[in-house]
């Protein structure tokens, strides 16, 4: 089998479609905001104490969900790439460039997250309120006060700006982007130089990246997601967020692979490779469920009020109770049953249906992690949620596909390419 160099052409039509998607997203968001501020506003104002709820809170929370979700896909794309080198995997040689391109979203994701923290941080994170740390205030909270240093160190005596929290955010994004750019540079260097030197450099760098990623992704999950429910904690939370990111990324890789194959590209990827990545999505959907359930069961069984509050807000709740089960249905039951037969994973017809379900399902998973904790009873789902998702999704795909079109679709000098060409699974 001979390999021909292939390049993805990010056509003007594809660009236009994605920009239209972003446009529709903006229109829906604006429409949702208009409806919210004219319609059901009066009932929320009636709440005493705290500050009045407005559409800005809800918009901020929706933006934050997308920040977390798409940052995750971007960095886990790099993680997938690094994993192939650390594991010396051969089968994936044809599709490795797709997850690598996800990383191009990282600088934008970092900027968006930092900006939206300064704009919406107060609406999202209860711990940003200063009177929680003031012993003279009636709002003083001894539990949050004990966690003060985690956010405000080294200024923890008079908390004003969460220096430690923000510097962690900047540091993580900086480090991720730096390692991503190094990997990307080595990958493209291989195209010109050939040989195995780049592959060995990438393997070494990948091993370093995986160790760094293991720690940073976990801390990022505590910082950006778990700290919303400031009193509550779960020792599994880092794993849980990672599992959700990982399945989403795998599903998106599969979906883009099928999309490229339908355009007549990626001729070296056949049903054997699809089968393998389909198994990945199947297996890690089960893994996500396992992590989700392990966290749930311990809290359910121990029945300690300070822990169960997390599920009281999400399950025993009129607003979110339905989504709680929709989450499990979309992310476990559907992929588990639909992807179980062998043929389902080998032919793109079923994969093309299941992958969007999984991608959307995990967006809902992040919605459930973030909204009930930050908006409580004022949360909801409607045009604003859908609109922001379209804006972010369109922009993300625009950046990723643009990055994908910059180099050949697979590395012609990859030492693993030959193994991938002969890949065969029963």
């Amino acid at each position: 089998m001979t390999t021909v160099e292939e390049k993805y052409d990010f056509s003007a039509k594809a660009k236009k479609n994605l920009l239209i998607t972003v446009g529709i997203g903006i229109a829906l968001t604006v429409l949702g905001i208009v409806l919210m501020s004219t319609g059901g506003h009066h009932e929320e104002v009636a709440h005493e104490g705290g500050h009045a709820f407005s559409w800005i809170n809800r918009l901020g929370v929706d933006i934050w969900i997308n920040n977390i979700y798409f940052t995750g896909i971007a960095i886990v794309g790099v993680f997938f790439f690094a994993l192939q080198y650390a594991a010396q995997a051969g089968w994936s040689a044809g599709i490795k460039r797709i997850p690598l391109a996800f990383g191009s979203w990282l600088p934008i994701a970092g900027t968006l997250m930092l900006v939206s923290f300064f704009v919406f941080g107060h609406d999202l994170f209860h711990w940003t309120h200063h009177d929680l740390y003031d012993t003279t205030s009636h709002e003083f909270d001894s539990i949050i006060n004990a966690k003060k240093a985690y956010f405000f160190w080294p200024l923890s005596d008079h908390p004003s700006v969460p220096v430690f929290f923000i510097s962690r955010m900047v540091f993580f994004f900086g480090l991720w982007y730096y390692l991503f750019m190094k990997l990307r540079k080595l990958a493209f260097q291989e195209d010109f130089e050939g040989g195995t030197a780049s592959w060995y450099s990438m393997r070494r760098l990948s091993a370093v990246f995986l160790i760094i990623f293991a720690v940073t992704s976990s801390i990022a999950a505590w910082d950006w997601v778990m700290s919303i429910d400031t009193h509550w904690f779960s020792t599994m939370f880092g794993w849980y967020v990672f599992a959700s990111w990982w399945v989403t990324t795998l599903a998106l890789i599969t979906f883009i692979t099928i999309h490229l194959k339908e355009k007549g590209l990626l001729s070296i990827v056949n049903e054997n490779h699809l089968h393998d990545i389909g198994k990945f999505v199947f297996a890690f959907s089960v893994f996500w469920t396992y992590i989700w359930f392990s966290q749930f069961l311990l809290i359910y069984y121990a029945n300690i009020p300070e822990e169960t509050i997390y599920f009281v807000e999400r399950w025993n709740n009129d607003q979110y109770g339905i989504i709680f089960f929709v989450n499990l249905f979309l992310n476990f039951i559907l992929p588990f049953l639909l992807l179980m037969p062998r043929d389902a994973k080998r032919h793109s017809a079923i994969l093309k249906v299941v992958m969007p379900i999984v991608i959307f399902g995990h967006w809902i998973d992040f919605y459930l992690m973030i909204t009930p904790g930050s908006l409580k009873e004022n949360g909801g789902y409607g045009l604003v949620e859908f609109g922001t998702m379209l804006i972010y999704g369109g922009a993300f795909l625009y950046v990723v596909l643009n990055s994908l079109s910059k180099a050949t679709l697979f590395a012609k000098n990859d030492p693993m390419l030959n193994e991938s060409l002969h890949h065969h699974v029963q």
């Binding site: 359930f293 749930f296 069961l297 359910y300 069984y301 029945n303 179980m340 037969p341 062998r342 065969h424 029963q426």
Partner: protein, 176 residues
Amino acid sequence: MSNTKFILGVYEDEDILLSAITKIRTAGVKIHEVYSPFPVHGIDDVLGYKRSKLSIVAFLFGLLGTSLALTMQIGMMGVDWPMIIGGKDFIPYPSFVPVIFELTVLLAAYGMCFTFFIVSDLKPWARPRIFDLRITDDKHVMAIDLDHNKIDVAKIDKILKDNGASEVNQKTFDET
């Protein structure tokens, strides 16, 4: 039972074997079985084997495990001897999940395993036919059942030799 007579083609290389199988099958010879010291990729396809239905069996046994676990726990905890444990309902489904999971895996694994033994005729007192001791070392052996082939021995012998067999032997099993 009567005697069963086999003609055996010995092959040194799996690539030659794979192309030989295709050619021999198109020549109209029915192959009884091919024995290899290691798994040969793609051999199922050229031999024309249908996909195993073992996975369906596994699924059904798994389903049996799920329903067994549910019935057992609901019966014990909810009907036979209801007890209040940790303030939960008498039938607390989330608590049942670990047992459901374990029994599903157990029954799927055992069910698949024993079904495989039965359909493969593997039993402790089975006396396997040893066609050639070298199939555990470095030779591939293609066994052709002479009772099931209408082509005469000399012709099969020639077809095997023409398609790269390094030697052709005959073996008779006396199965009384």
